[in-house]
Symmetry: C2
Subunit: 216 residues, 2 copies
DNA sequence: TAGATTGTTAATCGATTAACAATC
DNA sequence: TAGATTGTTAATCGATTAACAATC
């Protein structure tokens, strides 16, 4: 259905298009031109048209794009119309925050299980899910077949759990650890969130902006 | 001191270099060649040499790079040798997790204050910091002069607080909201973390991988 | 010295922007 | 029809990779 390979840069812009179109819809927009959308999003109209044309022809010459229809198309492209069961490994501070903060349904997922090895958190309730002992993970996976897992465990524990999960059919990871999943397992879908790295780049910007100002 | 403008792609790789070099150091490596580092990190040797050469000549022909020295240089480039005071706005699930999960010191920051407007969390202790009423933020900023703020508040509240913070001298934001800071304030350093967008791209990959396999 | 590996220039590749014919 | 705006091709820009002379 869709064209061959979509570049990473395009994929990363899709959720933002989806969000902006949702806002436009809420604000009563029925149509929008690539020029107007570009202005609002801080992109170029060319880029927007190129991006959409990776997936098909969603606009109409002389008119622009229908906001609701375009939003739905991008939602479909992102797979938000299909809900994938997902489990969370690690119910520490971060794991708990992710579990309660993220609106999984609207991102194409449903959180169906939470596992930890720490007795202090096993039994805790996060939303409507109770944290289970990680020893129960294997049998849970065999029953429920989650295709995706969130990794919120220490780096040292990651390798072992990832191998287990892959053997149980998990094929995608939302990875908050520093374990280098993509290097070890090339056939698996991985989305890394390296919060520490993200903060460090802010430190760079903060410190080098001054220099840059000095140079100009 | 440093060359004119460093591309975003290079900046984003710096924290990862820093991490890998730290691990190498821990494992007793004294020297490493670009070829060997490239292999470990899943990059090309060319790219690594190009990246480092943006900032200076850190290697030695015929030898390679001294691990400890290179790590220190990259740390300096990232500004990790200078600690910037930072405050957190929003002490909900995510704010609390960030405050307790992140090792600020090693990323060039120190968390010095946490603010929220919800009476239910004001007074809570996170680490050694007590959550203050957001009405106290202005006077706190005048005294302590934080240069950086973490935004973990609802999108609707962001615009107002950002304006306040900028007027108090805050010049960098670690932004977990969907408020489009970079478009509104172009002179400010911003690092966006859009967790929802990140998860949505994983949905895309999960659903399109199948298609891709079908096409090949 | 000979071997290794950098720093750096040149070549390639990919992504963004510009331009314009097609068409609503 | 005339005006607007897309879809798409061509031009430009930037980032990555390859190659190699410099040099430790």
């Amino acid at each position: 259905m869709s064209k061959n390979t979509i570049s990473n840069s395009v994929i990363r812009r899709l959720p933002r298009y989806y969000r902006f179109l949702g806002e436009l819809e809420t604000n009563g927009y029925v149509r929008i031109s690539s020029r107007e959308l570009a202005e609002k999003m801080g992109l170029t109209a060319s880029q927007i048209r190129q991006d959409f044309n990776c997936f098909g022809e969603f606009g109409q010459q002389g008119y622009g794009y229908n906001v609701a229809a375009l939003k739905m198309e991008i939602g479909k492209i992102l797979g938000l119309d299909q809900i994938t069961p997902m489990i969370l490994i690690g119910a520490g501070n971060l794991g708990k925050a992710i579990a309660s903060h993220i609106d999984f349904k609207s991102k194409g997922f449903e959180l169906v299980g939470i596992f930890d090895r720490n007795p202090a958190v096993i039994g805790d309730k996060i939303g409507d899910i109770t944290v289970s002992d990680i020893s129960e993970m294997d049998s849970f996976c065999e029953e429920t077949k989650p295709q995706c897992a969130i990794l919120c465990i220490p780096k040292e524990a990651a390798s072992k759990e990832v191998d287990r999960l892959i053997s149980k059919g998990v094929r995608a990871f939302w990875n908050f650890t520093h374990y280098d999943l993509r290097i070890e397992h090339s056939d698996i879908s991985v989305e890394n969130v390296h919060l520490g790295d993200s903060l460090a780049t802010l430190s760079y910007r903060l410190n080098s902006d001054n220099e840059t100002c000095g140079n100009i």
